[in-house]
Symmetry: none
Amino acid sequence: MTRESNTGGDKYHRILNAAVRVFARQGFFQSTVSQVAREAGVADGTIYLYFKNKEDILVQFFSYRARQVFDDFKIAVDRAESAFGKLKCLIDRHLATFQEDRHMAVVYLSEIHQISRVAEPQIRAMSQRYADIVASIVECGQQEGSIRENLNLGLVKRMIIGAVDEVISTWLHAENEYDLTSLADPLADLLMHGIGSAAFGHARR
Amino acid sequence: MTRESNTGGDKYHRILNAAVRVFARQGFFQSTVSQVAREAGVADGTIYLYFKNKEDILVQFFSYRARQVFDDFKIAVDRAESAFGKLKCLIDRHLATFQEDRHMAVVYLSEIHQISRVAEPQIRAMSQRYADIVASIVECGQQEGSIRENLNLGLVKRMIIGAVDEVISTWLHAENEYDLTSLADPLADLLMHGIGSAAFGHARR
Amino acid sequence: MTRESNTGGDKYHRILNAAVRVFARQGFFQSTVSQVAREAGVADGTIYLYFKNKEDILVQFFSYRARQVFDDFKIAVDRAESAFGKLKCLIDRHLATFQEDRHMAVVYLSEIHQISRVAEPQIRAMSQRYADIVASIVECGQQEGSIRENLNLGLVKRMIIGAVDEVISTWLHAENEYDLTSLADPLADLLMHGIGSAAFGHARR
Amino acid sequence: MTRESNTGGDKYHRILNAAVRVFARQGFFQSTVSQVAREAGVADGTIYLYFKNKEDILVQFFSYRARQVFDDFKIAVDRAESAFGKLKCLIDRHLATFQEDRHMAVVYLSEIHQISRVAEPQIRAMSQRYADIVASIVECGQQEGSIRENLNLGLVKRMIIGAVDEVISTWLHAENEYDLTSLADPLADLLMHGIGSAAFGHARR
DNA sequence: TATGAATGAGAATTCATTCAT
DNA sequence: AATGAATGAATTCTCATTCAT
């Protein structure tokens, strides 16, 4: 009965995309189902043929749309050779994807906490996906000797995703436009080598 | 009825604290003014003697409560000597403060995007405050030679605050309790030296 | 899906029977056309090929189905010889019919008042039919001397149908099952001879 | 928190009475909360200060208003001496009460089946109250010899209440007004002595 | 005939805010 | 200052009905 099997997924995706636009503009709770319907060019009631309720639109968004985005990161990362290359690639894809779909970026960054109460599993799945990618990068780097041993993987993952999300968030709220992806390499460099000077060496070791 | 945490304050603070508790529990938009009033032990109408409207409670929270927290960071950082010490101190204070006031942490992390539409200036002020602290640390480090030159200060600030926020966020959603501050040093180390191995040196330079 | 009770009938009767089942379960106003359609195994739109609107299903039910039931009473009553026999027969048929079709019983007893606003004529027709039967029984009884003269026929009819309906209604809401028809004779006896003792005779006369 | 303790029970009873009028006119399901509010001269939202929801209005009606009516019957019956007198008294009060408050009568007769799904206990309580009254009449009659032994009390109660309700129901739907209470004595007589002629005697005995 | 996706009017309910006390 | 009853606009969601296929 779920409508992925819709004729071409037409209305379903029209509504989903419209919803993301509206939510990005006004926030989830300040958006009305009517607004989403109008933006999608359907009647109010039509929404409920495809979504259980207003919240379900957000859940579906995170379940399918955003999740798939994270899956794509994996593919991109696998193409790079070195750990550093992979890291740059991950961050670049992350930044590029969100830059390409600003609406999704806004909704992802603003509403994920709201939705986490109801769609905890989906959120965890995305988070885990990211953690897996980071783990694979770290492992690769440790094998080639470019990444140090004894890392707290979870912490590394949190640092990376936190840094990237914050970079995106700042970009979203910036007054003047600028190219987000141009920050991929500098950020990857920072994450790889830290802010410390090489001269001082690694304090701990 | 709840009077335990009535920190001797007047009605204004009683309401503000009650609101943070309620908002943390249910989210801003899913909380009602009545709930805040009940939690504060005042009548619904009383809220409006101290706050312009529901949203204003959140704005006041960010204007005074959260902002002051960021101000405190500055003081703590100034006490440390080395740049690395300052960084650890900043992160430690950040983590400790949010660990001590979980309600504030939830509201800060969840609702800041909602409020940003209406309280952009306050948000910017906090952000700028953090940027200043980071800048002072970097400057200090560069003078003592422990932090490299040519850093994109804004990017460094975003990396740090993003990493810390993500660490806090993960802690908030974790199933089992753990000590957040114990992550301060490991995280500071990561930010300082990156995940790369010293052996490889700084690729770029 | 439910096809068991599809009494070989065409769509019209399939829908009508399905509707009675659904209405009995949930009440007319709390039932949806979709539910009736699903129960009947047809598409929503198909309902409207056979019925003017939702209400019309109920009207048709009372027009044809329930009405026919009352017609059957007449036939049964005519077979009995004595007035008392006829009365017992009427009540027995009444109880037996409703016991056999519990769904109809529920709808008849619960929804007749709702429908009376729109299908007054049908209701009156059924009521008149019952009044006629009662009148024929009374007439028969008066001829054979078993029923007293000077009866308010309308009142007698109301007493009988009221008593029987109430007996059925109680049975419907009873917690444990019991045989409804076993109450036919006791009730007929009560209606025939009243609750007074013979010794006291008829007070009035 | 329940609002019986309202200042004079003002709004609460205004709404309850308005609701009964509206429900009587249109039926419960075809009445809107807005209509009740308008009839009561209050805002829509005010309804919800006194009633949990629309259905609760009906439940409260049956819980307090109608139930009390049944309680009154008891008092009236106790005043009469003979069993026959008590019976006439019961029926007279029953008819008079409903004649005096036509709205209540309509709602009671039309909506009791709807509400029984949700307020089974209240309905049972009223029914039991009536059964008790009937039982006391019968017992009294049996002691004085005016009512026969071996009666199925439950059946007698169902016959009486069914007959009375049907008489009221017919009166409600009648085209021309007539005095309902004038039927009390004839009906009591019928219930007491049945429709049979004294000459024929009691078949069973 | 039959379908069932789409519609959109309509209803219940909530809740921020006001204001008489 | 404080109260909390009252308001009514706004919102979500339902569902009878239609109509293109």
